[in-house]
Amino acid sequence: MAKSKTMTVLGRVAEAIPTLIGVVIVAFLLTRALPGDPAAYFAGPAATLESIQEVRVSLGLDKSLPEQFIIYVADLATGNLGNSISTGQPVTADVMSRLPASLELTLFALVLSLGVALPLGILAATKPGTWIDQLCRIIVTAGVSLPVFFTGLLLVYVFYYQLGVAPSPLGRLDFVYLSPPHVTGFYVVDALIAGDGATAWAAFRQLLLPAITLGLFTLAPIARMTRAAMLQVLSSDFIRTARAAGLSWRKVLFTYAFRNALLPIITTLGMVFSFMLGANVLVEKVFAWPGIGSYAVEALVVSDYAAVQGFVLTMAVLFVTINLLIDLAYTAIDPRVGFDG
């Protein structure tokens, strides 16, 4: 019996909770399993055993593991993600400032990627088995077969260093510009909101190269899914009927076929997006992008527990949210979904 849609939604949300609990526990254990001693690191150069012990106490790391866990969970309940040892800021503040940078980059990369992958996928689906199909396959697979940091450095070398056409890879905004007043955290959007075209354009230019690097990587899953989904739909009965009824190829393709192929494409998009968010640490390093990925790597290397936990939790929540949204999109688009197995 199909339940009502709200029940389905609430059910999905409820299901996500044990997952989040699991994430909280695993995040804690993982960071505690890291062999480094942050106290030694942060006691700094020329620290003695006493000063390291001092730092350890002040960081609360001298308490037993269960005790630390309880403190950690209690803090979480009040929305306190702790303080990052390395930046000295509350982790929440760090995440709030670094996350939009990654989000902006990832979203923009996805948009670019979609712009290329969708047409390629549709094209390949309409001419399966031909050399066009093969070519599309080769192009997208090539994009995903190279390590992302390699493509990044290569692009910097060719387009910035040799040709000089790309803007300097020194971060989100050239130093000549001040960051726009914070509304969303997306520099392009915020600058436009503030009515500052020059800054928006500058932020946009800085986005190009890193977004292209990331986008190359996401071409494959999107194109392949588009192709597969389109093929599936195109071979179905109702399309054949539409063609037999004399509807133009174009109308069939875009009005009927593509719309029906959307569902799996959206699912893929969601998964690709959350994967990218965590994986763009490599791109951030190359382009000096102050995003959440590089934040996590720096924190991991110095065993900055709170920061790593905060990062992991944020990512997990985002991931769960995105999947939830996709579920909802599915439920909304496809009335057949809502089936309890």
Binding site: T8, G22, P147
Partner: protein, 320 residues
Amino acid sequence: MNKPSQTTDMIKPVSGEDGISLADLNAAVTRQSGAAAPTRANMLRHLAYILKSNPMTLIAFILFALMLVAALLGPLITPYDPLKSSVADALQAPSLAHWFGTDDLGRDVFSRVLMATRLDLAIAFSAVAISFVFGSIIGSLSGYYGGWLDKVTGRIIDTIMAFPLFVLAMGIVAALGNSVENIVYATAIVNLPFYARMARAEVNVRRDAGFVQAARLSGNGDIRILATQIFPNALPPMMVQISLNLGWAILNAAGLSFIGLGVSPPTPEWGIMVAEGARYIVSGEWWLALFPGAVLMLAVFTFNMLGDGLRDLVDPRQRS
């Protein structure tokens, strides 16, 4: 909830009531066409057909064979000792003497790339094998028995998947230490959920199918049915994913090397060679990163193409 390996074109389930959504079922049912195993002659004929109509797949097979040969024979046929340094010859451009040039310690890049084939393929195969075996077992059991086993494993799998893949892999390697084994384990853990989910869906769909009930009636035990009747039908789509995952496993190792958590020097491994070689791009010594990078790309490419080919071979409805 589900996450793909790098490339997937399966219609992937979203979290449903039972963890199985209609899309899930759709996909599984579509593949159920293999209830009766095709004969060997049919398979070979089909294979020939696929190869003829898909030159890329043929090329992929050939490349794969070449890689296997390189992995097996590689270390024996290298022109130079991949580990021996020769400071006087450092950073030489590709030439007749050194086809891929030399690195910062004067070692022959071609020899190192060749030798690395064995290690990289080993990492990829073992990581994927582990995640496949354990993932299938866990997934099949949950899909067959359902109940609390299913719920618990489902949540555990979801938890693993909720972690940003790369950070999870990083964290595991950082926690367990910097060694080849740990890279393999980290990659395996990170890939496991995918196989578990797939096995679960496939088994769940066929759990009450006709042929299963027949087997049960004739007195076969559950595990036997699972192993001999149900699971083989789930194999084909999983084969496809295996080949795609192989490529991803190599890229994962490369990424870990870039941030310093890779294989220990002086062992050559494609990823670490690209990571270290990347530093030399701007100063003009392009060969240090390009050749290992190109070979790495070729390997991942081959696996991806193989995956496509396998899919075509296995599922007529989904072929190009």
